[in-house]
């Protein structure tokens, strides 16, 4: 009997969808537009976050050691920084590597190369490139570098030059994040209300039918389930259409976004493709979840006959 009732519920849901095709189409269109707008806001958020983080990734602190500092001592400092929680990674550029890079950089400048050749010893010291996990962690790292024990070892560090920029960037990053969350929050709230109301209005048009079904002896479950299934169907179709709209949209927009990221490793289309499944799942969960709740609640309102 349960199987028969389940099959009937599916049959009624499909029948209801088809026999009210215009109402179904309008409901699906509203859901598609809602999902599409939320996804767009989400996309803008992703782009803003990526802009900030890609710039953040370019920031590091280079610590230039005096040429006569012992390799072992540099390694100890490297280990010390590596053990810090706020440090993402520390790369050691040896004296030899520093020289090789110097030569590479000045390959078209024979005078500099010649003067370097004339020197008996390599004048360049080793360098430690320290990358923090978060942009806010650099002041702490810098403070440690100012330790008097290091003063004799370190020739120079480049962080001071970047400090103003990093401070501003850190400020922008947190603002972008806050504004992004706020806008997304508002949009999600609006979407919830739209989906909730759309499904409620759809059910409202069937309120008399629900009453009649009750009067001829249908149980609440028998009435409610096909409506819930029908709204799941709306949500499912809406997600498919919204994804079908999003893909060409991202395809068109991606090259323009790419110009923002010149020199950085970010491609919106690639991001969208690699996150396709999770975006779709998220849309399905949101749309279906809201549809199920709103239809179940709305039907319940008319079941009291």
């Amino acid at each position: 009997m349960i199987v028969t009732s389940l099959i009937r519920a599916f049959h009624f849901a499909l029948q209801g969808f088809w026999r009210n095709i215009w109402l179904s189409v309008v409901t699906v269109i509203i859901l598609v537009l809602t999902l599409f707008s939320v996804s767009m806001v989400g996309g803008v958020n992703v782009v803003a976050r990526e802009v900030v983080s890609s710039i953040e990734n370019k920031i590091d602190v280079s610590v230039y050691f005096n040429p006569d500092v012992d390799q072992q001592e540099i390694q100890n400092i490297q280990y010390r920084f590596e053990s810090l929680r706020s440090v993402d990674n520390v790369t050691l550029v040896s004296k030899e590597e520093a020289e090789r890079r110097f030569r590479e950089r000045h390959v078209n400048d024979p005078e500099i190369i010649q003067s370097l050749d004339e020197l008996e010893e390599n004048p360049l010291g080793a360098t430690l490139v320290i990358k923090a996990k978060n942009i806010e962690d650099y002041p702490l790292i810098l403070e440690m570098l100012e330790d008097p024990d290091y003063a004799e070892l370190i020739e120079n560090s480049n962080f001071d030059d970047n400090q103003v920029i990093t401070d501003r960037l850190s400020d922008i990053a947190s603002r972008v994040q806050r504004i992004g969350m706020l806008v997304t929050g508002v949009f999600v709230l609006i979407s919830i209300l739209i989906i909730f109301n759309t499904i409620r209005i759809t059910i409202y048009t069937h309120r008399e039918e629900i009453g009649i079904m009750k009067l001829v002896g249908a149980s609440n479950w028998f009435i409610r389930f096909p409506f819930v299934l029908e709204s799941i169907l709306y949500a499912f179709i809406a997600v498919l259409f919204s994804m079908a709209l999003l893909y060409p949209f991202v395809h068109v927009v991606s090259p323009y976004i790419a110009t923002l990221f010149e020199g950085y490793d970010f491609n919106l289309l690639q991001y969208f493709t690699s996150h396709l499944l999770s975006i779709m799942l998220l849309q399905l969960v949101i749309a279906m979840g809201l549809s199920v709740i709103s239809s179940a609640v709305a039907v319940g309102k008319y079941l009291k006959v």
Binding site: M1, T4, S5, R8, Q15, G16, R19, N20, E208, E209, G211, I212, M213, K214, L215, V216, G217, A218, S219, F222, V305
Partner: protein, 226 residues
């Protein structure tokens, strides 16, 4: 058997629809409940199908005291009582066949049996050629026949008809009453709520007259009094 014992129904805030009604309807009877509009006839019908509950008193259907029936038991009660309404109450998105079948589907009957029974019942009410039509595609009389078919299809022992001819012309009204009479001859108890004088007088069956919520007359083969 349908039994009302000291039944009163008061709608909020303070509208008395029925007052101390005592009434017993025996199995197989054809009873007309008559009275002017707003006297409580429809409330009486609604109490039988538990669409309303009495404020005071006791309502029993068969051996089942439905005075304080639980919400979950109401569908079970309604599957045993056929109901015909003045405004038909057919499901607009379903064909006549599907409307009648729905009454069996809610009870979990298998598709094959439904496919056999429904055309037979639709034939009895004279709708064999219009099974695949939607309610909006047939006349009022035909819609009411479909409603009777739906009310009959699960072979109820009781059929409650609330102003079944209210929206029909004289010829269709006469046909519907004849149909109800035939159904009664097969043993189904009929409770006909009406204010149609001609129909009541034509039937020569039991007539219960209600006025201002009270039973003022109960005649075995009565006429319309008011």
């Amino acid at each position: 058997m349908i039994s009302f014992r000291g039944v009163s129904k008061i709608y909020p805030p303070n509208v008395t629809a029925l007052k101390d009604v005592d009434l017993v309807i025996q199995p197989g009877e054809f009873v007309s409940i008559v009275g002017q509009s707003g006297t409580g006839k429809t409330t009486l019908a609604k109490l039988i199908i538990a669409e309303q509950r009495p404020t005071r008193g006791k309502v029993v259907i068969g051996d089942w005291d439905i005075t304080n029936i639980k919400a979950g038991e109401i569908p079970i009660l309604r599957r045993q009582i056929g109901v015909v309404f003045q405004d038909f109450k057919l499901l607009p998105r379903k064909t006549l066949f599907e409307n009648v079948a729905f009454a069996l589907e809610v009870a979990g009957m298998q598709r094959k049996r439904i496919a056999t029974i429904v055309p037979q019942v639709l034939k009895i009410v004279g709708l064999e050629g219009k099974m695949d039509r939607f309610p909006r595609e047939v006349s009022g009389g035909e819609q009411q026949r479909a409603v009777i078919a739906r009310a009959l299809v699960h072979r109820p022992k009781i059929l409650v008809a609330d102003e079944p001819t209210g929206n029909l012309d004289a010829i269709n009204a006469h046909d519907i009453i004849e149909l109800l009479r035939k159904i009664n001859e097969f043993g189904t108890t009929i409770v006909l709520v009406t204010h149609n004088r001609e129909i009541v007088n034509m039937l020569h069956k039991r007539v219960v007259t209600i006025d201002q919520g009270m039973v003022i007359s109960d005649q075995k083969t009565g006429r319309y009094l008011l």
